[in-house]
């Protein structure tokens, strides 16, 4: 078969997976053209990624919740509330940052387990249980910020999480104005990816498994390397990798590993595919439900930390509608409402799609009312595309 024939076949058989990436690319190209290149500028991309952070981590946690056929509506205000708790811990209790962050994350896990309790133990629909949480955390957020209103966080270390960038070598004449550590990380990532893919391929061939043709394999490596280098190049042109991006990527990588490579991940997807069969296969569905909601709570805490640190303050309305953005991101990213299907990497792309739309439309000066309509339509289109391709592949 010809080169283009192979390419076509591979894209066609993976259209659902690649569809999102292609859509994201189309959005990028559209806004770049529509804003005369401002959209793709280093500064804007850096900002865009930082804005994605607190939604992306929620979307990652939400992916697992939706995969096991549940939903968690409480996480938006939970993030807001825990952000406020972090602010209070820093300003009023005078706790150091390195105590506050684990403390808040632990509180997030506890909150997640509390939401899971009626769901796992009593069979109460998660929609209702987490709606109760939505009200409760909204109330608690108002309560803790009642006296002070917005709490300003004067802690530079904490605020660096949402605003800071990783350090660089001292300025040298080589590549002036570029963030060299960021570039170095990009190059290392490309090398690790290539080495890993080749090793994986060799392993598969050793086991006589099917692999993609060599030319397609090379195309794939080149495309992925180009994307990594492209993004790091753009980021290096501004301040380099931000701590938010580092955290976001770390979360996605850990969750991606757990969901695709571990026994735990298998159990989660098995429960989503058929809870009764999973139970009869010896999987403790209750325990897994607690774990998934616990992880969701932890991600809500992280989201709250990222958001409050980005604003350098905790506000009375922090976290409003975060849960909806996270759910939308997960659905755009190909998570199935029927359960058992969905990838955390997809949800990351979904979150990027959502923030790219906001960022691009802001740059174009489109008013907020129209922005909601556009984002709603994109969500709908994404889900229709997903369902249609799923049916076609049957």
């Amino acid at each position: 078969m010809s080169f283009y024939g192979d390419l076509k076949k591979i894209i066609k058989s993976n259209i659902r997976e690649y569809g999102m990436y292609i859509a994201l690319l189309a959005i990028f190209i559209f806004f770049t053209v529509a804003t005369n290149g401002i959209f793709i500028s280093s500064r804007n991309i850096s900002n865009l990624l930082n804005q994605t952070g607190y939604i992306a981590v929620l979307a990652v946690g939400m992916t697992l919740v939706i995969v096991i056929r549940h939903i968690d509506l409480s996480v938006g205000f939970l993030a807001g509330f825990l952000g406020a708790v972090a602010a209070i811990a820093l300003t009023q209790w005078n706790l150091p940052v390195f105590v506050v962050i684990p403390l808040v994350m632990a509180l997030g896990i506890v909150a997640g387990l509390v939401t899971a309790f009626p769901v796992a133990q009593m069979g109460i629909p998660s929609f209702v249980a987490s709606l109760a949480g939505w009200l409760i955390y909204r109330g608690l957020l108002l309560l803790v910020t009642l006296r002070t209103g917005t709490i300003i966080i004067p802690n530079d270390t904490y605020n660096a999480i949402g605003n800071g960038f990783i350090p660089d070598f001292p300025e040298i004449s080589f590549l002036p104005g570029m963030h060299k550590i960021t570039l170095l990380i990009g190059v290392i990532a490309v090398i690790l990816n290539i080495v890993g893919e080749i090793k994986n391929r060799k392993n598969k061939i050793a086991y006589n498994f099917e692999v993609v043709p060599m030319n397609m394999f090379i195309v794939k490596l080149i495309v992925i390397s180009a994307i990594i280098l492209g993004i790091t190049w753009v980021l290096a042109g501004y301040n380099g990798l931000s701590w938010t991006v580092v955290i976001m990527l770390a979360v996605v990588m850990v969750y991606h590993y757990v969901t695709t490579k571990t026994v735990l991940g298998r159990y989660i997807y098995a429960i989503g595919g058929n809870p009764e069969a999973a139970e009869l296969s010896g999987i403790d569905v209750k325990k897994m439900t607690f774990m998934v909601f616990g992880s969701m709570g932890m991600m809500a805490a992280l989201s709250g930390i990222l958001f409050s640190s980005r604003l350098q303050s905790a506000t009375t309305t922090a976290g409003s509608l975060f849960e909806m953005d996270a759910i939308a991101a997960a659905y755009i990213g190909g998570v199935s409402a029927a359960g058992g299907v969905g990838k955390v990497t997809g949800s990351l792309i979904g979150a990027l799609v959502m923030t790219s739309l906001t960022s691009g439309m802001n740059l174009m000066g489109i008013d907020i009312s129209s922005q909601y309509v556009v984002r709603g339509m994109v969500l709908l289109l994404a889900v229709i595309f997903d369902v249609a391709t799923r049916r076609a592949s049957k």
Partner: protein
């Protein structure tokens, strides 16, 4: 040719990579009961889906004539209008709705086109129930009725719409003998009133019992159409044509190696199901020896599945009393996981409902119950998973293009083999098989039996729950009969007869 109500000519239907139907011709005479038989994957269901418009005109090639008029259905509504009703194995009733609401669902009776006339609905529903000879209150919720009765309600629903051709897809696979006989009486009755029926079935005895004509499909082709009234139909003939080879012995021979050690013993087991508020098991006592196949006979709903679940970690949440001994050690399982660890495996009767994860592939289903075997420190080694799953696929002859195929796309028999493979993968000492051959074809049955024999010869103990008496008699070393949650009889297979078992089961 005018006496044919239905003629399908040279129907070809292809799926990507497979020719499911290859120029199949199929004719049904007016007013007959026509049986359609064939192995799983032979194309029976596909043919019926073509007929009922699930695969609309244009997705297949060939011609369909109904009463001599060519039909080009573009959906199931078209075929319904033409008088074709199809009743699937999985019933399409709304459990939370009453019988009369279900019967008239989709074509409610109304005087003014807005409000439903419930009085008239109930009156007509009562007549319909009489027609299908079902004696239940039309206000009963469907979920409170047994499968047999639900099936009759489906038929009543079809009859409200002036059905000319009634298609039943494996109606008896989950019915007990009484319900089966009842259903057949009804079909004969309907025949007298001019309704033609097509019956898809794996149970050859009933095909011989009720069919006027039998058509055999194999590998997407019509093999033969036989006239029962000319004595052309017999079990041997059908089996031979279905599988293309002669199976002299439906039950493969086994080198009996029943030991003396009791592997599992249950004493005074009682179980109460709080959800339905009644006892499901009462004073159950039994034991199983090493290398023994013990058959559990009984009617559907007699408590056999409840018994299996009680042994297997009680996932439903019964309140249980009694003692369980495995290899002489007292055990108590609170979760299937503990039962699996102790060497018990349970192959469910409902592979689609709670056995398999249909949206996952063959290898993931096989490895699920014992992922530890292919993982290190919680990380799955996909290469060894692939290798081991391939071994099981080959050993059990699971027919699938690849073990990365979703289980959803396999035929019933192959799904069942995946289900069995999954539990062999945990390497159990005691294997509970609940209706192991339900809804699968003769060839696959034979293969399942062979696997059971091999396991017993290796010294594993097998509990086989089955509603098919020939299977109980053909496979077991010893038989327990369960009736209304109690064990109503025990006998070695040498002393057992179908009549004796039925007598105990209905006692």
């Amino acid at each position: 040719m005018n006496d044919h109500i239905l003629e399908m000519k040279f129907i070809t239907k292809e799926f990507p990579g497979v020719k499911a139907l290859d120029e199949v011709s199929f004719s049904v005479k007016r007013g007959e009961i026509h049986c359609l038989v064939g192995e799983n994957g032979a194309g029976k269901s596909t043919l019926m889906k073509v007929l009922s418009g699930v695969y609309p005109f244009g997705e297949y090639t060939g011609e369909i004539y109904l009463n001599g008029v060519e039909q080009k259905f573009s959906g199931i509504n078209d075929s319904k209008k033409a008088g074709i009703a199809i009743i699937y194995q999985e019933l399409a009733l709304i459990p939370e709705m009453s019988v009369y609401e279900n019967i008239f669902l989709g074509h409610e009776i109304s005087n003014n086109g807005i409000a439903v006339n419930w009085n008239e609905t109930i009156k007509q529903a009562t007549e319909m129930l009489k027609k299908v000879r079902l004696n239940v209150n039309p206000a009963t919720k469907v979920k409170d009725l047994g499968v047999g009765k639900q099936q009759l309600i489906e038929i009543a629903k079809a009859l409200t719409q002036d059905v000319k051709l009634l298609i039943l897809d494996e109606p008896t696979s989950s019915l007990n003998e009484d319900d089966c006989e009842n259903l057949f009486e009804l079909l004969r009755d309907l025949k007298k009133h001019g309704v033609t029926s097509i019956l898809i079935s794996h149970k050859l005895k009933e095909v011989i019992n009720i069919g006027d004509t039998v058509t055999v499909l194999r590998d997407g082709r019509t093999i033969s159409t036989l006239d029962a009234h000319k004595g052309e139909v017999s079990e041997n003939v059908l089996i031979k044509q279905m599988v293309g080879r002669e199976i002299n012995n439906i039950y493969p021979p086994r080198r009996k190696a029943v030991g003396n050690e009791v592997v599992l013993e249950v004493k005074n087991l009682n179980a109460y199901n709080p959800r339905i508020g009644r006892d499901v098991l009462k004073d159950i006592n039994f034991n199983i020896k090493k290398g023994e196949i013990v058959g559990f006979a009984g009617l559907v709903g007699s408590g056999r599945t409840e018994l299996a679940l009680s042994l297997f970690g009680n996932p439903v949440g019964y309140q249980i009393e009694g003692e369980l001994y495995i290899n002489g050690k007292k055990k108590k399982f609170n979760h299937p996981r503990q039962a699996i660890k102790a060497g018990v495996a349970y192959v469910t009767e409902d592979r689609k409902g709670n056995g398999l994860i249909l949206i996952q592939d063959v290898k993931q289903n096989i490895s699920l119950a014992n992922l530890d075997r292919v993982s290190m420190r919680g990380v799955v080694n996909e290469n060894s998973e692939f290798t081991i799953a391939t071994e099981y696929k080959d050993a059990l002859d699971i027919r699938t293009p690849s073990i990365e195929q979703k289980v959803l796309n396999l035929s019933g028999g192959n799904q069942q083999k995946v289900s069995v493979a999954k539990w062999l993968f945990v390497d159990p000492e005691i294997l509970i098989l609940d209706e192991p051959t339900r809804g699968i074809d003769v060839g696959a049955k034979y293969e399942i039996y062979t696997i059971m024999n091999r396991l017993a010869e290796e010294g594993k103990s097998i509990i086989m729950i089955s509603s098919e008496l020939p299977e109980i008699l053909g496979m077991s070393d010893r038989i327990y009969v369960v009736s209304s949650g109690r064990i109503s009889g025990e006998m070695p297979v040498e002393e057992a007869t179908q009549e004796k078992i039925m007598h105990m089961a209905t006692n």
